[in-house]
Structure formats: structure tokens, C-alpha cells
Amino acid sequence: MLSRLPPPHLLPPVTVPATAENMFQKPRRQDRPSSQDKREKEWERGATAMEEAPSTSRGAAGFQEAPGTSSQGSRGAEAFPEVWPRSQQQLELKVAELVQFLLIKDQKKTPIRRADIRKHVLGDYKNIFHDLLKMAAERLEYVFGYKLVELEPKSRSYILINTLEPVEEDAEFRGDQGTPTTGLLMSILGLIFMKGNSVKESEVWDFLRRLGVFPTKMHSVFGDPKKLITQVFVRQRYLDYLRIPHTDPVEYEFQWGPRTKLETSKMKVLKFVAKVHNQDPKDWPGQYLEALAEEEARARPETETGGPPSSS
């Protein structure tokens, strides 16, 4: 039944042909490899190619990192108050690396921590972190249509929001399976909203039981549903799993997580629920008014959720 639900307006995973995480390890110094170990060294050098002279197919004219530079900051880069002169190309390359890093990290749907970005990608460029991140965010949005957004104010972690609305037909053209779990997630989000923005865990399982999903039984599509809902969706920040105080045995409740608030809206979720029941959103006047109020609040720029990465 879940497969017949309309596609939720949530970001599908993105497979990126980009350089990956362990590429951005601390770069080694540029040792000249011996001919015997050349192949071996090439593999490792390639992994840190971004820090060394890349051999691009465009035949970039001699771009070299300053000799002896390493990301450990052994040259005391922090002592330099200003950005020492870097070529346009070096900056561009760094931004390119950052864009790819963000795309890959977002694929897993775990929010990208600012600390990880600093550690893995920016190395010597720490003092112009914000400028580089801003440039990367601009490129991500202009080229791919993904907006880099801070998860919550001051959270220092980011996610990518798709500025394009997914359509049902997209599924035919995807090379991956998309996320089969989004149907389940969307149903839960719907339940939470309809029940007043918070719902006890026991109620969620009562609801899911009717769909053939049980907390203690492996599911052919969702695997371990309990783990999926209480851990995976929570880690991805789609849901908040909160302990209800003064309960013994401990009980939990679910609410929308910060990612959900950024990626979708009460109105969209209400429309989804209405469609499932073959009714009109206005058939639930309380929720409809609440959804409208949220839309109006978002339209006012000062109270707009999300936005460009804030400065430290």
C-alpha cells in the first residue's frame, strides 16, 4: 500500500561521481616515488591529488602548492593574519573539492558538521573558510539546484535542500532506487502533524501495525523498522525521538525533526494525508489553518527558516 502513495517532497539520495571522503586525508609531502613503487605511490598520491599539482585533462599550467606546505599547518599558517596570495585556480580547486565533499556527505543524509568540513577539506585554508563555504554554496545552488542550509541556528551542521520539486516521473529516470523508506517516513510525518505535532511511540506502532510494519519483525523493504524509525530517521534529523518525563517504564514521543521542517511544510504533508484519504485538505480545518499560518510565516523574510550558512 505504501508504494502507491504519492512521492513525498523529500530529498532523494544523490549518487555523486565525485571524489570521496578518504580522498581528503591529510596530504603527504610530495615525495618523488621510486620507479619500483611508482604504481603504489600513484594510488596514494591520487588520493591527495587535490593538495598537490593535479594533472587535469585541461593541462593546467603548473599549479603547485608552495613547497613544504602541508595541512598540518607546519608552516605556522595560523601566524599569517591574512590570506596569503593564492591563485584564482587554487581557490577554484578548493571550492570544487568542497562542493564534491558536500554532495557526497549529503548522500548519506547525515548532517554535515562544520568541524568535518574544516578537518577534511580545508586544511591550510581555514582562515578563509567562510568565503570558500559561501562560494561552494553558491555553486551548489546555481549548478545543481541544492541549497546549503544550516540545520538549526548555531548548530554548525548543514544539509542540502533540493530547490527542485521532485515529480513522480523522476523515479523512472533515476539510476538508484531512491529511498523506499520515504513512503514510511511520510506516513509518520503525517501522523505526527495530524495528531497535533507530537505523538507517543505506542501510537506510532499502532498506526504502523495496520500497514503491516511491526517493531519486532524484520520487514522486506524497511529491514528493522524499530531501528529505522528510532535511530536512522532520528540521526538524519527527520524525526525527534524524545523521552516523556516522569514515565515509568520510559515512554517516548516523536516530533518533526529540523530536517523535516526545512525540507517540507505542514501544507505539503497535509496535502499528502488528504490524498491518501481521497479527501480535501480543508476537511481538516484545524490542521489546514495551522498549515496556512506556517506558510504565511515563511513568506515573511525575517522569519524564513533555513537560509545561507551563518557566520561563526
Binding site: 580522498m23 594510488w43 580547486l93 570544487a96
Partner: protein, 283 residues
């Protein structure tokens, strides 16, 4: 959610970020963006499917505009991708010359692209397979020979049974192709790693005499040793009654394959899977 006009305008105009000298980048619209997003979900995609994808993106965003010629469409996107050191690269399958496209990284020359999906020892297994494939005469490495190297892998110890599964994963993710228990590179791997392979194996690497690109599978002249891709052979000797080596002029001893014809395939309604596999190892 209604998007402000100013925001929409900002997104369609070229941003004020670092762009080199006199590079004239094209303009991205939502059609291009959706195309890129969906293309990125494929490691490599056949031209027919790419055309359908393009059409789909036009349908979603702008039904009335005429669908731009695919090559121009892709060149436009590539001019924008240039500053990010990636491009949509066109290639052809080595066995039957189907045109394919992949989004590749320009600034790096290693297999690091794979490393987000595979563990250290799995990547090392791929390296070993690649060594054998490049060194081989036919462009194929046998499963046995690859598995025999399992003890030499870096990282966590891997048993042969595990390694078999990892090899299957490489096939699923389109890094390798398997034929009769032997492995060769998928067109995806060739497109993404050509430069890396040329630099890493400067002596062992084989090049096609016709198109001068990396060659893994192909035919070779028995007299002078030059090699050609099967689709390059097909095009070069097309309607040639007496095929002769372009280098030494000796009689070309191999069966000449047919040039890939996309229209023919649509009419017959045959899929790649139904086609009888072309015998590609003719050395």
C-alpha cells in the same frame, strides 16, 4: 512555497563567483539542474536513455521550448561544470560501440571516486584486478588469478569467498564487466579512470590506433601489433572488401564487427541483454 522573484532571478543568472579569465560559461536553468541531478544517480548512462532523460526534464519545466540538440545541451552544461573540475564525458562501450555518458572528475587521477562505497581492502582488490587487466593480452583477468591475490590486500584480511562477492559488487556498480568467469573494465571505469590509467601504467597501457583513446578490449594486427577497438574496427573497415592493417598493410585477420546502429535496435525491439554476446577477444 512561493519563491521570491529576486531569488529565482539570482538562481538563473551566472553567480559572481570565481571564474577564470575569458571563460564563457553557459547558463543553467532548472531543466539543466534536474538533468544533472538525475544523471548523477547513474554511474554511466546510454545515449538513448540520456535523450529520454533530457526530454523528461524539458517536460517537467518547460513543455513548450524545443528540445535542444543533445550535444549542445551537454556542452552548455559542461561549460558551467568546468569551474568545478567535472564534466559529462562521452564514450562508447568497447564491445559494441554504444555511445554512453558519465559525469567524471577532471582534477583527480585516482580511483578515489569509488572510495566512498568501498573499504580499503575492497579498493585494493580493485587495484589488483586493474593491474591484471592492464597487463593482460586480452583485457580480461580471470576470477582465479584475481582471487589468488587476496592475501596481498591492504587493510582487513579478506577471504576468497568475500572477494567473490566484492567482485560482484564491482559488477553491480558498473566498475567491472564479467564474461565467462573473467573480468574487464566497464565503460564507466574507462571513462572515469582513463587519465589515471595512462599515468599509472605508462608502459603497459594500450592505445587504439584509430581513436587514440585507452584500449582495454580490441583486435590487434598479428604482424605489427597495433590495436583497435572493436567499434573502431567496425567503422574503419566498414564496407571494405579487403580489410588491411592501417599501419603495415597486412591482411586484417579478424572478423569485422558491425557498426552500432541505434535505430536498427529500436525496430527489432531487442535489448542488450537479448543480443548474442559479441566475441570480443580476438587476439
Amino acid at each position: 512555497m512561493e519563491e521570491g522573484r529576486a531569488e529565482r532571478r539570482r538562481r538563473t543568472e551566472a553567480p559572481r563567483c570565481t571564474q577564470g579569465g575569458a571563460r564563457r560559461a553557459g547558463v543553467m536553468t532548472d531543466v539543466h539542474r534536474r538533468f544533472l541531478q538525475l544523471l548523477m544517480t547513474h554511474g554511466v548512462l546510454e545515449e538513448q536513455a540520456v535523450r529520454h532523460l533530457q526530454k523528461h526534464c524539458y517536460n517537467v519545466h518547460d513543455c513548450t521550448a524545443a528540445v535542444e540538440d543533445l550535444e549542445d545541451f551537454i556542452n552548455n552544461i559542461n561549460s558551467v561544470l568546468e569551474s568545478l573540475y567535472i564534466e559529462i564525458k562521452k564514450g562508447a562501450t568497447e564491445d559494441d560501440g554504444r555511445p554512453v555518458y558519465a559525469l567524471v572528475n577532471l582534477a583527480t587521477t585516482s580511483v578515489s571516486k569509488m572510495s566512498s562505497d568501498f573499504a580499503e581492502n575492497e579498493l585494493d582488490l580493485f587495484r589488483k584486478a586493474l593491474d591484471l587487466i592492464i597487463d593482460s593480452e586480452t583485457g580480461f583477468a580471470s576470477s582465479t588469478n584475481i582471487l589468488n591475490l587476496v592475501d596481498q590486500l591492504k587493510g582487513k584480511k579478506m577471504r576468497k569467498k568475500e572477494a567473490e562477492q566484492v567482485l560482484q559488487k564491482f559488477v553491480q556498480d558498473k566498475w567491472l564487466i564479467e564474461k565467462e568467469g573473467e573480468f574487464t573494465l566497464h565503460s564507466r571505469a574507462i571513462l572515469e579512470m582513463e587519465q589515471y590509467i595512462r599515468e599509472t601504467y605508462p608502459d603497459a597501457v594500450k592505445i587504439c590506433n584509430i581513436c587514440h583513446s585507452l584500449l582495454i578490449q580490441g583486435q590487434s594486427c598479428e604482424t605489427c601489433g597495433i590495436r583497435m577497438h572493436l567499434p573502431c574496427v567496425a567503422k574503419y573497415f566498414r564496407s571494405s572488401p579487403e580489410p588491411r592493417c592501417p599501419h603495415c598493410n597486412d591482411y586484417w585477420p579478424h572478423e569485422i564487427p558491425e557498426v552500432f546502429n541505434p535505430d536498427k535496435e529500436q525496430e527489432a525491439g531487442t535489448s542488450k541483454l537479448n543480443k548474442k554476446p559479441l566475441r570480443s577477444r580476438q587476439h
